[in-house]
Amino acid sequence: MDNNVRPIIEIKSLTQIFGSNPIKVLARVNDGMSKSDVLAKTGHTVGLRDINLSVNRGEIFVIMGLSGSGKSTLIRHFNRLIDPTAGKIKVEGEDILTLSPKELVAFRRHKMSMVFQHFGLLPHRSVLDNVGYGLSVQGKKPNIWKNKAKEWLEVVGLEGYEDQYPSQLSGGQQQRVGLARALCTDADILLMDEAFSALDPLIRYEMQTQLIALQGKLQKTIIFITHDLDEALRLGDRIAVLKDGEMIQVGTPEDIILNPADDYVRDFAKDVNRAKALKVKHIMDRSKNKIIDCDSVEGLNDAFKKHDALVWIKNNQLQGVVSKNRLAAYQAGRIDSPLLHQTSVKEKDYLQTVLPTALLTDHHLLPVLDSDNQVIGCLSNDAIAEVLSPSFDAA
């Protein structure tokens, strides 16, 4: 990450201890006493221990962990629904733990909004009134917030449902209302606490797609909590893995899969559909030794001393893949073209989408293009096979 980019949220050595006298227990927790020892000796539960993280503006930061790992506790610190036992929370450089109750209310109204696992809608307010809730508590005039709420309802695809009550909607629709409510206040930061976990898989996938599309337009900073690694990999720009209240690893999705920090993360990553999570760029061969740049077919001859097949570029333009045998046949005049095939893949493609192409290609060599259609490397079937094999050990 660029060091000049100032993180929008910074959390420093945050610790949360639940019990009658957390301050008293804090010293022992800081000394590294284990969670079970703390519980046995003091009756206190260590919710979070020494969490450090920073979230950059405009990214989707996923916090992942199993139930009881403290992820929902952690996200509630961002807008101080829970106050930490120790540590610092800075949002846009401002220490939010020093806010007065009045400032805190203003902070929650304008800086952050939140989407909840079980939607947290107000059952006695209509869908429209739910979406406009954030603006209505700010004291905005009804005609202003109703208009705005209507716009956001349209964005999430629920126009026509304005006068329904939440209980009349399906789970997926209710969470769309929850999302529209969160977006309606125009807050920069969106907290999503297991927002899609209560939905069935198909709807969940649909909501993820919608969130990705929305994020492309809105460029919010999103903190997303989930227990589902597939979801984390699909949505996250970066992922933090939480276990028993401790942060185990923070990294990009491919970091988590390819370089898990410990056995816990490795176990997590094992069951993941890597073809869906990894992109071509993560496993492609960036060395140029199978790429040859020359102006004429004749120039290719020298290159085939080491390889059977090569990617041929002419004037920065991909020509295609050439094989030794085909070149010989072409030069003997038996065929019209020395090219084996002209297929290529993009570096941003997921392995899943390139897999059929890769399987159908002779010699199993695919040129990889960047967004400007320049060849930046090549993908071999061996590399795909290696990363997708069950025995693949990331370490």
Binding site: L81, V105, R109, G120, P123, R125, Q168, R181, T185
Partner: protein, 300 residues
């Protein structure tokens, strides 16, 4: 010797000591009521004049006007012609059997008592819901109010204020207020945590949370409490008649002492009719204002 008598008989306090305690307490209370009785009575004066005014209003207005207004009020609350017609027929029957005036007296005192119970009960319930300490202090008092025989707390009230309407109202309110307090407390505590968190996360102040989320969501439970309060207030009418509260209770009391079965039955039925009216009207009003819950029931 006397040493072993505690084995056979309970080692109770001597009669003289007990008498002493009683005399001291009774004396102290008598002195208190002599010293402050007038002030306390003066404090309740506005309530008394309101009660008298309201009762006279119901008694002096021509019966058909009262009937019309009541039927209209019932329709306004419940939006149901059936209920409105039912109330009209019951009231006509009550009037035909010569119980109109007493019914109006009872109606006026029940209305005032219910109003007082709500005005006092809901804030107390809110206070209990907000603090566990308040809850643990108030709950035993509610237990006492509900289980202590009404006659026992009538004694000090009568000693202080004599017999009449005000002691009657106080007795009825003490007896009838616990349900509305308890159910307000319960209703607010049952509001889903996540819903409240959502309101907080969007920057609702504690007041906005109370009036915008907690009370509306607790309303079905609170309405059940108000309903119970009305029923208990009606049940107290007969007991209140013993300390001079006029209304349907007095003929019942007379019937008990003179063994007039029919008179007792008719007046008893009139009380039942009033109770059913209050119950149905308040229930259907509650249901109508909770329309967001209607579809949940149909959907499940």
């Amino acid at each position: 010797m006397t040493d072993q008598s505690w084995l056979n008989e309970f080692p109770d306090m001597s009669r003289r000591e007990l008498l002493g305690i009683r005399k001291t307490l009774d004396g102290a209370y008598r002195d208190f009521s002599r010293a402050y009785g007038d002030q306390i009575e003066a404090f309740f004066d506005p309530l008394l004049s309101f009660l008298v005014w309201f009762e006279n209003l119901l008694l002096n207005t021509p019966w058909w006007l009262v009937l019309g207004v009541l039927a209209g009020l019932v329709y306004f609350m419940s939006r149901s012609w059936k209920l409105s017609a039912g109330v009209t027929i019951s009231l006509l029957a009550i009037g035909y059997f010569g119980m109109w005036d007493n019914t109006m007296r009872t109606l006026s005192i029940i209305t005032v008592c219910t109003f007082l119970a709500i005005v006092i009960g809901i804030p107390v319930g809110i206070m209990m819901a907000r603090s566990n300490r308040a809850q643990s202090i108030i709950t035993p008092f509610l237990d006492i109010m509900q289980t202590m025989p009404a006659f026992v707390y009538l004694i000090p009230v009568v000693m202080l204020l004599g017999i009449g309407k005000i002691p009657g109202v106080i007795a009825v309110v003490i007896y009838a207020i616990p349900p509305v307090i308890r159910l307000t407390n319960l209703g607010i505590r049952l509001v889903p945590h996540e819903t409240l968190e959502a309101a907080t996360a969007f920057g609702a102040t504690p007041t906005q949370r109370l009036f915008g989320v907690q009370l509306p969501l607790a309303m079905p439970t609170i309405m059940a409490g108000i309903n119970q309060t009305i029923m208990m207030a009606l049940a107290m009418v007969v007991i209140a008649s013993m300390i001079g509260v006029k209304g349907l209770g007095q003929p019942v009391l007379k019937s008990i002492t003179n063994q007039y079965f029919t008179l007792g039955l008719l007046n008893g039925l009139a009380i039942v009719a009033l109770a059913i009216m209050f119950d149905r009207v308040s229930q259907s009003y509650a249901k109508r204002t909770q329309k967001h819950l209607g579809d949940v029931k149909n959907g499940q």
